[in-house]
Amino acid sequence: MATVTIRNVWKYYGQTPAVKDLNVTCPDGSFVSILGPSGCGKSSTMRMIAGLEHISAGDILFDNQRINDLAPKDRDVAMVFENYALYPHKTVFENIANPLRLRGTADATIKERVTGAARLLEIAHLLERRPHELSGGQKQRVAIGRAIVREPKLFLFDEPIAHLDAKLRAHMRGEIKHLQRNLGTTMIYVTHDQLEALSMADFIAVMHDGELQQWGTPSEIFNKPVNAWVAGFVGEPAMNFLTCDLKRRGDDVVLSHHNFDIPLLPGQVRQLNGAAQAGIARMGVRPDAMTVSMTKPSEAAIQGEIFVNELLGGDMLVEVQLADSRIRVKTTPEFEGKPGEICYLTVNRDKWHVFDAGDGHAYF
C-alpha cells in the first residue's frame, strides 16, 4: 500500500527523450492505468518505477520516500510482464513461490500462501505443471499469482492481458479489477487498449509522445478530453472530427460547415472565452452523440448521404458523407437507410466538443 508520486521524471535513450517531464500522483489503493499507443513512454515509465530502467531526471517517491536509487528487489513492488516471464525450469508452484523463497520465508508459510493465491486464481490443480504445459490464460494467472503471493506496496501490470484472445481478455478484465479491489493494493496498469483502461481504472493517465496528455477518471477522460488527440484515442468507434468555421451571429456563435450552421449553446460560448470566436476550429462528436433519420426531424438537422452501413450485432454504424468528409453515427440495427440515400443527422449539442484548430486543445 503506497502513494506513488512521479515528479518531473524524464527518460532519455541516448539523445532521444522517451518520457518528458512526467508528473503523476497515484493515490494509495487506487487502480491507475497508463494509457497510450506504442512508443508513448508508458512502458518506460513503468520500468522506471520497477527499477529496471535508470531514471534520467526527476524523482519517484513511494509514500514520500525517494526510491530512485533503490535496487528492484528493495522497492517492494510486484510486476506482471507482458509475456508473463515465467521461469520455464520451475513448476507453477515454484514460480509463484519464488518471491517468498527469495525473502527466506518459512516453507509452511510458503505452502499456505501459494495454495491460497492459486485457489484465488483457480489454478490450484496446475501447481505441479511446468509453464510450457499451460495455456496462455493459465500462464497469465500464474504470473499474477507470483505478484499477489506476497503483499507488495505496489502492483505493476505491463499489458498483462494483451496476448489473450478477446473473450478471455474480457473475462480477465473483470477478474483483475475484482482482485485489486479485494487486495486494496495500489496498482499501476499499463495498456494501449483504451477499453481496458476505461473499464478497469480509477484514474487514467493518457500519454502520447512521452508527454502526459491528461490525468482523470475514466468518465473525465471520455467525456471531457483536454485535447483532440485524447478525444480521438479514447472511445470505440472513434470520435468524428470536422473542420468548421466559427462565426459570430448576433449574440450567438455558430459552427459553420458546408452542410450545416449550428449555434453553440450559451454556456459553450462562454467556454470559448473570446478565443477563436472567428476562424476555424475542429468540431468533435462521438458516433453515439448523434442520431440519424431518413426524414428531416427539424430545420437544424444536417443533410448527408449514406456512404455505407456496418451492422455490429446490437448496433449499426452508418457512415455519412458530408461534402468532402465522412462521419460515423451509431444507430439501431432497425435503421433502414440504404447507401446512396439522403439522411439527416441531429447532433446532441451537450456532447459535442470544439478543439482549437492549431494546438488541438479543447474549448469544451
Binding site: 535496487a71 513492488v77 510482464f81 516471464a85 521461469y87 520455464p88 525450469h89 518471491p99 527469495l102
Partner: protein
Amino acid sequence: MTETLTGIDMSVRAPEDRFRARKVSTEVEARPLSAALPPPGRLNPAARKAYYFYLMAPAIALLAFISLYPFFWLIVMAFQKGDMGAVEWVGFKNFIDLASDDRFLSGWVLLFRYSAMCLFLQVSIGVLLAVVVNGSRYERFLVTALLMPMMMAPAVAGLLWLFLYNGTFGWYHWIFHSLGLLGSGSILSSAKTAMYAIVLVDVWQWTPLITLIALAGLKRVPRDQIEANMVDGASPFRNFFAIVLPNLYPVLLIAVLLRFMDNFRFIDHILVLTGGGPANATKILPVYLFEVAFKFFDLGRGAAIALVLLVVTIILGKILVGVFDRPTAGGR
C-alpha cells in the same frame, strides 16, 4: 536462377518475349538426372523412404569408405595378435591381458583426473569470461582476442608452453621458482606438477571455446525472466544461479560433451610436453594407446585399448546427455 527470373520479368513486359520463352520451354528435352525418379511428394511412405535412401546413398558410400571400413578393421585387429608381419587370431586374449596391465589401469585413472580437472576449470572460467565479456563495450575485440589460442595447432601450443615451462629459460619456471613454489626441478620434470602443467595448457587453449559457446547461450537468456526475478527480490548473484545458469545448461551440455571427447582424443600437446612422463605421471590412456600401437607396434593390443576407449566414451557421452537433458534443464 537469376536469369530465369529476368526472363520471366521480361516476358511480362513484352509480349514477343513471352512467346519466345514458351518456345524455349517446349524444346528442352534434356532433363536433369534426378527427374528419372518421381518427386517424393507423390509417393507412398515406403517408396518415399527408398527415394530418400537413393539420395543419401553417395554420402553413405563415402562415409563407409573413409570411416566405417577402418572401424571394422579396428575391431578385427583387436582379436588378432598383430605386428607388421604375421597375423594370428587370438580371440579375447588382448582384452583379457588389459585387465592385468597396470599401465592400462593407471592410464584410466590419469585420464579421468586429467579430464575432470580440464572440464571443471574450462567450464567455470569459460562461463565467467563469457559473463564478463557479454555486453562489454569491447565485446568484439575481446572475442577476437580470446579466439587466438584456439586458432593455434595443438602441437604448436605444446611447443610454446614447452618454452614457457623450460627449466633453464622458461618464463613460468622463473616466476614459480622466484615465488618459491617450485623445488629444484623444473615444472615438467616433477611428477607432482607435470599433470597440472598439461591441464593448464589444455585450459589455456580450449577455455575460449567454452566462452564462445556460453556467450551465444547468454544472448538467448530471456531478459524478461531476469527482470522478473529481480523484481521478485533476487540479487544479481542469485539471479545468475536461478535464471542464467539453468538457461545455459543446454549449450553447456554441448560444450562439455565436445571438450570431454576431445580430452579423450587430443594428446598432441602432451606428446610434445612430456610424452607421458615423468615416470608415467602424465601417461593418460590415449598416450599409452599411442605408445603401444605406434612405438611398440603391438597393433592388436592397441586396437583392443582403442575399442575399450571408444565404448567408454560412448557410454559416458550417453550418460552426460541424459543428465543434462532432463526436462528441468530445458528451454521454454
